[in-house]
């Protein structure tokens, strides 16, 4: 059984003819896009042919919203009171239920100081359409917004660990007293509010409880597979960023920030500070200009025409495979407290909100799994014939020992056979 769950997201679909391996099962040959992963062949399970059917029946309208909001949740989205805005993006809605990472975290995250860790690379900044900026939800209207700043991630993870024991104990005492008093305010207020407002404050209280847990569980965060936690060399400066115009100029280098985030993720897992981590590169409908590989146009714009832009889009997806490979390199080079490599004990899931950007296809999805803690038969390429992706998510739950016959939309029951 795997001990950890990791989600790696990249956007705008892929170029299927360059992504799909040839051959089948263990006798597959790497495709151009996935070639950077060949060192990890024995640890991979490459999946094609699952459909995100919910994304076609869900509330909402914009295909990127629909892809992103159902990708990890498998359930119809909720449109808020404001309805639909620009390009029919949902203005104030939400996924319809918890995402798979949060569902798994609710079970295996209890024992670690951080129930889950949500990292981003230029994932929030100031995007006008909120649904595309988030993939993880604790529940409806309760998004888990990725942290884009490696400096802040480090401070959250290790601020306490690096302080002296006396300081930690004092802070514990102070914060415990203050937060207990504050929680009493929330509790007494919620009883006077209507349903929606009460739900809003209940979610806030859940967040305070999570903070209290982080505060108390100071015993973890040591050992760390022999690595000494070091502050990342890059950190965002939101003040300068706000004064300095467009996000692209103020969010730091995409590649450098991404690498720092992956290093921090591996560190957090090595220290057993968390067992569930997500990394969201940009947003659904990513408008990043991948200058580092010589493309000059926005990813999303180009993804609308995969004939003209086939070479650039292949390069972008290959670049993401290189980043995924780097993450797997680090996970397999680092040992957890049990002596096994982190990758051995982790289930890693590379997702995309669609399979093809040009027609916004959310069927025949291109997924890569890695690791699996012995619960996956890896080293293979498996093709499905249109099973709903809910079955994969349900299979994940079962792999983590969580009994379930469906995840998300209850009409899509069952698990996938042939993975384990």
């Amino acid at each position: 059984m795997p001990k950890r769950f990791i989600v790696f997201f990249s956007a705008n679909g892929t170029i299927m003819q360059s992504w799909a391996p040839t051959g089948a099962d263990a006798a597959f040959t790497f495709s151009p896009i996935l070639t950077p992963l060949q060192n990890h062949r024995s640890q991979l399970l490459i999946l094609r042919g699952l459909n995100n059917e919910v994304a076609y029946t869900s509330a909402g309208s914009n295909p990127h919203d629909l892809g992103m909001g159902t990708m990890l949740t498998g359930i119809s989205m909720k449109v808020g009171p404001s309805g639909l805005g620009r390009a029919n993006h949902i203005i104030d809605g939400s996924a319809g239920g918890p995402s798979i990472d949060q569902a798994i975290a609710a079970s295996i995250g209890k024992a670690s100081r951080f129930t889950s860790l949500s990292l981003g690379v230029q994932s929030t900044s100031t995007i006008l359409e909120p649904m595309v900026t988030r993939m993880a939800y604790r529940g409806p209207f309760d998004p888990v917004i990725p942290q884009d700043d490696p400096g802040k991630v480090f401070a959250t993870l290790f601020g306490n660990t690096l302080a002296s024991q006396a300081e930690v104990l004092n802070a514990q005492k102070r914060r415990g007293t203050v937060l207990d008093a504050v929680m009493a305010d929330y509790t007494s207020l919620t009883s006077k509010l209507g349903t929606d407002d009460r739900a809003k404050l209940d979610r806030h209280m859940t967040s305070i409880r999570e903070l209290e847990k982080q505060l108390l569980m100071t015993g973890t965060g040591t050992g760390c597979g022999g690595i000494t936690p070091m502050a990342p060399a890059v950190s965002l400066t939101p003040v300068a960023c706000l004064q300095d115009g467009r996000p692209a100029t103020c969010v730091g280098d995409f590649t450098t920030i991404g690498k720092a985030q992956m290093d921090l993720m591996v560190l957090a897992l090595a220290c057993d500070l968390t067992r569930v981590a997500t990394l969201q590169w940009s947003t659904a409908e990513s408008t990043v200009v991948h200058a580092e590989i010589g493309t000059t146009l926005e990813h999303h714009k180009m993804s609308h025409d995969d004939v003209t832009n086939v070479s650039a889009l292949t390069k972008i997806n290959t670049w993401y495979a290189q980043q995924f490979s780097y993450l797997l390199d680090q996970l397999s080079a680092t040992k957890g407290a049990d002596g096994a490599t982190l990758l051995d004990g982790s289930l890693v899931f590379w997702v995309n909100e669609m399979s093809r950007g040009t027609d916004h296809n959310r069927r025949d999805l291109a997924y890569v799994l890695a690791g699996g803690g012995g619960a996956l038969r890896t080293g293979r390429y498996v093709t499905f014939k249109g099973d709903p992706h809910n079955k994969l998510l349900t299979t994940f739950l079962n792999m983590f020992g969580i009994p379930a016959t469906s995840f998300g939309d209850p009409s899509y029951t069952g698990t996938l056979t042939g993975l384990t």
Partner: protein
């Protein structure tokens, strides 16, 4: 149709409001909310209550900010406390809790609440010194829902279908609406006297908050315009130009929407004046622009550059925003299976020629025949908003037409577009709706249509003066009343 009270979802302080509030409450200029998770944007607005959620990250950022603010605040303890705790510690702290609490929570504390906060101090004192324990008190105030949210419970009334707000709640409503901050001392004094219960009292305070010098109100109105026009990410000098233009037009200037949409002048930094190719600013800062080229907000570089690509214009986005953001029109998304290709512009042609394909293809034409003829009339402005007569050596055709509006018909070029937009009743009504969304922190729904219709009528009768619109908005049931919680 009677005007209805409508929804009043619980509103949390936005980043801007948090910074303004701690500045007023603690005289702290550190702007801690710049470090917070960004507010979720709802069609550009940062304050839509239905998008506000506090996840663990933001909860942690609130804790960090409260700790830092409390440490700064207790550096000069006697000034903060207003008494000497070394002499009569218990009495001193209780008076501080009462007085500071009333400002932090924007209402008097009940006796139980005073005891509750005092117990934080007492617990603190079993382990810590006076300053540290006082910090814990300040933190307890700043992390409370009564500080972070604008709690409105109303005046209890048995069997009522709507509730009236307490004067304390009204003080905050007015203040956050018009200043984006906590009530000032005059509003607090009025609340203390329970003198914010009649429409006249509310209107008088609204007018006072917007009268000179009204720096905070000026910032608030500039914020409305930049959020409505999606100018959040444009370069600072360009945004500043539009902000200054809005402030000077509304405060001490003509004050009306038509001027905002048609003025052949602006207030800009020298770098921006150069971009205009205009003569330097006059002594009062005004820059006179070529009236054949420039007319108000839609011809300012901030708007033109926001709705452009880095290196070329984007007539579809310009046209689409004017259609959606100013006419409140809707554009369906492209058909899901449509293969969308942005045209490339071959040498010797103009952007307009490249976009003709949109209207040749029936699938595209359904929407683009509305958006493109608007956006293409702004083709005289390049991606940065500089004037141009030709593109790739070909003269630019800026003829266009409006369809589906109350000012339909053909026109030529940006200035005529601006004049049509300024003359449109539909635009006036749309601006009212946008201002409603900003003012109430939520979208307007069908229930609110009588209210926005009424406000539009008032707005038009009053020569579309924006500050008067703000006063009118304080006089409708949606502002003066609360729905009963459900």
């Amino acid at each position: 149709m009677p005007l209805v009270t409508g929804r009043a979802p619980l509103r949390r302080l936005t980043r801007v409001e948090y910074n303004n509030t701690v500045r007023a409450l603690l005289n702290d200029n550190s702007n801690p909310a710049l470090q917070f998770e960004p507010d979720t944007l709802a069609d550009g607005f940062t304050n839509n209550a239905d998008t506000q959620n506090v996840g663990t990250t933001l909860a942690g950022e609130y804790l960090t900010a409260a700790e830092a603010l409390s440490v700064t605040a207790t550096k000069d303890l006697p000034t903060l406390l207003g008494c000497n705790p070394a002499l009569a510690e218990d009495a001193c702290l209780r008076s501080f809790i009462q007085q500071f609490g009333q400002r932090a929570w924007r209402r008097p504390l009940t006796a139980q609440e005073v005891d509750h906060v005092a117990s934080v101090y007492a617990t603190g004192r079993t382990s810590f010194d006076i300053p540290t324990s006082t910090q814990m008190v300040v933190q307890a105030f700043l992390l409370s829902p009564y500080f972070l949210y604008r709690v409105e419970l109303g005046v209890p009334a048995a069997g009522a279908t709507v509730l009236s707000l307490t004067s304390w709640e009204m003080a905050s409503r007015l203040s956050y609406f018009l200043l984006g901050s906590m009530p000032d001392s005059a509003l607090f004094a009025a609340a203390q006297q329970d003198a914010l219960r009649t429409p006249q009292q509310v209107s008088a305070q609204a007018q006072r908050l917007m009268s000179a010098p009204a720096a905070a109100a000026q910032d608030r109105f500039a914020q409305f315009f930049t959020e409505w026009l999606h100018l959040t990410n444009v370069g600072p000098l360009l945004r500043q130009e539009t902000e200054t233009f809005v402030k000077r037009t509304l405060f001490g200037g003509p004050g009306d929407l038509v001027t905002l949409l048609t003025a052949p002048y602006t207030y800009a930094a020298p770098e921006v004046v150069q971009l205009y190719g205009a003569p330097p600013a006059a002594a009062d800062g005004r820059v006179t622009l070529n009236p054949k080229q420039r007319a108000g907000l839609l011809t300012q570089p901030a708007f033109l550059a926001t709705f452009a690509k880095a290196d070329s214009t984007d007539p579809v986005r310009r046209g689409k925003f004017i259609w959606e953001g100013l006419f409140c029109g809707s554009v369906p998304p492209p058909p899901a299976n449509l293969v969308v290709t942005a045209p490339t512009i071959p040498p010797g042609t103009t952007t307009r020629q490249a976009f003709e394909g949109h209207r040749a293809s029936p699938a595209c034409a359904a929407c683009h025949r509305v958006m493109d003829p608007i956006g293409l009339t702004l083709e005289n402005f390049d991606a940065l908003g500089r004037w141009r007569d030709s593109e790739n050596g070909v003269p630019i055709d800026v003829s266009g037409k409006l369809a589906g509006t109350d000012v339909d018909g053909p026109f030529v070029g940006p200035v005529e577009l601006a004049q049509k937009v300024a003359a449109s009743q539909g635009v006036a009504s749309c601006v009212v709706r946008q201002f409603f969304r900003f003012g109430f922190g939520r979208y307007d729904t069908a229930d609110d249509a009588p209210t926005t219709d009424y406000l539009t009528a008032q707005f038009r009768t009053g020569n579309e003066r924006v500050l008067d619109l703000a006063v009118s908005m304080t006089q409708v049931p949606a502002f003066l009343q609360l729905p009963v919680p459900q």
